[in-house]
């Protein structure tokens, strides 16, 4: 809603400075979006909330300003025009959708011109001038909030129906656009056809123009429920639908039609028919509220006299009862329905800033969501490991997902912003790769990035954690400390798992987007929780990317560590042995370690790999792998004999299981 201060002041008996006016509007909840000084006047643009349909009018805004300043609202009176024109019209109304319908036939005596002050008001409101007939309807609407519609009376029939159509109907609106409407569009029709979409826009078939000599002026109150959503279905919002959707004063129709009639009389000169009227009685809303309720909700005591005074200023009728007040709501406040609405009215007029504040002494505790804790911990661990966190949009390009071969199961958005954000991400990998591309093209050579976020498939959604490692070796510095092999990323991941007290198993299988020889599935017991590996060379080539290492795991499938007692470290000295085996290079180290542990007895504390060798001096199908084994007992010093026996067992076991030979 946009208007000049001078137009508003017509309704206010008293003066108010520009600064005060602007401040008060915002403090009343009628937020000033912009204001501009213009030749002795002030242009004001309000950003109105959907509940205040009444303030899509100068009178509505003036009411609030008067109430807060304790000023009187100056409402001009309009008399009915002398009704000399004896024309026939019958009006038949669906009263469930239209609580009152008023129409008047006006025979225009001369060619009128839109006066300057009307032009100014329309311009302020950003409503284009059409012709004097239409300009007057818009002008009255801006003042009263009541949308009016003028039909060319020669183009419409004698019978007017306000009704829902019985079938789908094609029509052409005033803006020239053709639409097909369904049965839930309320229409104004005559005997033959639809002549207007009620509360939204007139049809071209009944349009007024410069040659129009007789109009049928409509001033109606359509129920918001019969208008809501319909304009949007057609893809626009009109000044009328904007107001009807929010609710128009049920008692203003006659005032508005008389206001307009007077203008037609002044500008065109005219003969007026009687007002054809169909309306149902509406009951004013009543709300009962007690002082206790008001005080308890606002957290302070407000004298009843003050409450009564300010509610009266807002045009509520107040009847004091023994323990409560009986309020009758003014018809223009469509939004007021319950006691809490009255609380807001009281708070609004007193001023939110003038109400007290009080410390809340409430402790409510219930266990925290572990998922949030886990997310926080994951971020902490990766940031401490030198990774940079990124946050990407949750929607990605489906064709990118396809190139990566990630998932055919991603969910399509019905109304994406653009085709490169058309599906919900089934994985965090596309986002990380985009981040890589963006930064690599801008000269970044070292990447350790990660993201935590939800990913989605048609069946489910889960919280995912993914990371990317890359280092452009040509930019290596003297220290050579930054490395980016598969193992470097796995080390970070192992550290993460170790912090969570989890021992996952890496199993060589391949995801579509990873190098089959340099990737692993990450498993906990038998459950797959993610993967890690080098980006598949084919994808590297297709996307012109270098050799990047990636991982992604399902955070939901990981539990936070339980708190365990701290075990006392053994006091007795341990015993260390190194064993080198020759074994098929296909045997994963992890499987070998598992078997060595099996044969090593309970005192075997650790098995580490100190050397792996393939090449000269060794058969092509074999590798040499050297383990360092460490035994320690919690009860006594281990004797060499005992350890020797264990080593013997291990050597035999490895020979049996893996056909491994001890290297001399």
């Amino acid at each position: 809603m946009q208007f000049y201060k001078s137009d508003l002041l017509q309704y206010i008996s008293g003066s108010i400075s520009d600064t005060n006016l602007l401040e008060q509007l915002t403090e009343l909840g009628l937020e000033v979006d912009q204001s501009k000084k213009e030749k002795n006047d002030l242009l004001i643009k309000l950003d109105l909330t959907p509940n205040r349909g009444d303030c899509f009018s100068l009178i509505g805004i003036a009411r609030d300003i008067c109430a807060v300043n304790n000023l009187k609202l100056k409402l001009p009176k309009f008399k009915k025009q002398q009704q000399k024109l004896d024309s026939k019209k019958t009006v038949s109304v669906d009263k469930s959708a239209c609580s009152s319908y008023l129409g008047q036939i006006i025979k225009l005596k001369s060619k009128g011109k839109t006066p300057q002050h009307i032009k100014k008001t329309l311009k302020a409101a950003d409503i284009g001038q059409v012709n004097p007939i239409v300009d007057i309807t818009n002008y009255v609407m801006l003042h009263t909030g009541q949308p009016l519609h003028a039909f060319d009376n020669k183009k419409i029939g004698k019978k007017i129906y306000v009704k829902f159509p019985s079938k789908r109907t094609k029509l052409k609106l005033l803006d020239g656009a053709s639409h097909e409407i369904t049965k839930d569009f309320l229409t104004i029709s005559d005997e033959k056809e639809v002549i207007a979409l009620a509360g939204i826009m007139g049809c071209a078939n009944s349009e007024v123009d410069e040659t129009t000599q007789e109009i049928f002026l409509e001033s109606a109150c359509f129920e918001p429920s019969s208008i809501r959503g319909n304009a949007r279905k057609l893809g626009f919002q009109s000044e009328a639908s904007l107001r009807f959707e929010r609710g128009v004063d049920k008692e203003i129709q006659e005032y508005a039609i008389n206001f307009a009639a007077q203008l037609y009389a002044e500008i065109f000169g005219g003969d007026f028919s009687k007002i054809f009227k169909q309306s149902k009685n509406h009951k004013a809303k009543k709300i009962s509220i007690s002082k206790e309720f008001i005080d308890s909700r606002l957290g302070t005591e407000i004298p009843s006299a003050k409450v009564i005074k300010l509610l009266k200023a807002l045009e509520f009728k107040v009847e004091s009862k023994r323990n409560s007040m009986e309020l009758t709501c003014p018809s223009h406040r469509y939004d007021i329905e319950i006691k809490e609405d009255i609380i807001e009215e009281i708070a609004r007029i007193i001023g939110y800033d003038n109400l007290p504040s009080k410390r809340l002494k409430l402790l409510a505790s219930s266990p925290e969501d572990t998922s949030i804790e886990k997310e926080k911990l994951s971020k902490d661990i990766f940031v401490n490991a030198g990774f940079n966190e990124v946050i990407n949009y949750a929607f990605v390009d489906s064709s990118f997902v396809q190139i990566l071969g990630l998932n055919n199961d991603s969910i399509q958005l019905a109304n994406p912003m653009s085709s490169n954000q058309d599906v919900m991400r089934p994985s965090l990998i596309p986002g990380l790769l985009s981040n890589f591309e963006y930064n690599f093209n801008r000269g970044t050579q070292k990447f350790r990035i990660f993201e935590v976020g939800n990913v989605f498939t048609k069946e489910e959604s889960w919280k995912s954690l993914a990371g990317l490692l890359f280092f452009d070796k040509s930019s290596s510095d003297w220290s050579g400390s930054f490395q980016s092999s598969f193992y470097d990323l796995r080390k970070s991941l192992d550290m993460f798992f170790s912090r969570l007290n989890i021992e996952p198993i890496y199993k060589k299988t391949s995801a579509n987007h990873l190098h089959p020889g340099m990737s692993a599935e990450i498993k906990m017991k038998t459950k797959s929780i993610g993967n890690i590996g080098v980006l598949h060379p084919v994808i590297q080539k297709k996307l012109k990317l270098p050799e990047i290492v990636l991982f992604e795991i399902n955070l939901d499938s990981i539990k936070l560590p339980k708190i365990n007692a701290i075990a006392q470290p053994p006091k007795f000295p341990g015993s260390e042995r190194d064993l080198s085996f020759l074994v098929s290079k296909e045997i994963p180290a992890n499987d070998f370690i598992k078997e060595l542990k099996k044969a090593g007895g309970i005192n075997l504390r650790s098995v580490s790999v100190i050397d792996v060798y393939q090449g000269k001096g060794i058969d092509e199908s074999l590798k040499s792998i050297t383990f360092r084994l460490f035994w320690q007992s919690t009860g006594a010093t281990l004797e060499d004999k005992e350890v020797d026996q264990r080593v013997e067992n291990q050597i035999n076991h490895a020979a049996k299981i893996f056909n491994a030979k001890l290297r001399s």
Binding site: G29, L298, E340, I343, Y352, R359, L362, V383, A385, V390
Partner: protein, 323 residues
Amino acid sequence: MDLAQEKKSFLSKFKEADSQDSLNSLKIQYLGKKGILSSLMSQLSNAPAEKKPELGKSINKFKSLIEESISSSLEKIEQSALNEQLSNEAIDVTLPLSPDVGSYHPISLIANEISNYFKNKGYVLREGPEIESEYFNFSALNIPENHPARDMHDTFYFDNGNLLRTHTSPVQIRSMELESPPLKILCPGKVFRCDSDQTHTPMFHQVEGLVVDKDINFAHLKNEILEFIESFFKDNPKVRFRPSYFPFTEPSVEVDIKGENGWLEIMGCGMVHPNVLKNVGLSPEVYSGFAFGMGIERMTMLRYQISDIRMLFENDLRFVIKG
């Protein structure tokens, strides 16, 4: 053997001994089992009785002389060898390194700060799904279909009628359905609206708080917000509460702080609408509550003086914030 002669001979040999090896062999030559000192001692037994004490003393003195001279020389040599080793091993301590400094995304930093603040005030963190049903995102929050309030939310839909949540408020409903008052929760998370310009991105983050109990009132809400603002904005800005409209609160409030160029909107809040309480089976006659919500991007932009929200999602690693 003549003691004086031996002493003179030792001194001249000692003078020439300049390495660890020569000093050690000198030590063996004089102090070893078959060394000169032990010969001198054996001579002592043949000496006349009256001369024995005198001679004994002189031999001991000679022994001390040998021991001290050799050990002090050895020490000097060791010291200079050590000095040489240390100076050879010296490194350039100024060579530049590039440590792998990790970083949180600025949105995470601010979300954490806000979450921690409210956690310390006894709020419990809650989260909910990003793909929501119409019911949780709108209907349960007193936003009926076709209501103009839905215009405030440009919603992403899926073909099955579900949607991407347009605010974190559905988590309120889910929490109230599961837990009973007193309730004090904070819900951070991603939200989505079809909108993109300098101040809007189709995905952004919100954090929303909800308190429900008996006798919760507007004064409590005001205080909670004022204390938060005082903590978050270190320069103690002027605060304005003004009426607004959210279908799920009544009264509804918009909170502004005074910046250099006028008032800045920072959050919305209000008393929980009785229809919302009814929708989760709580009687508005018995319970009341307040809710507040803010955009984390907005708070991040204010904190780090970022003017274009889209920058936050470019993830340009040159603009990493350390802290």
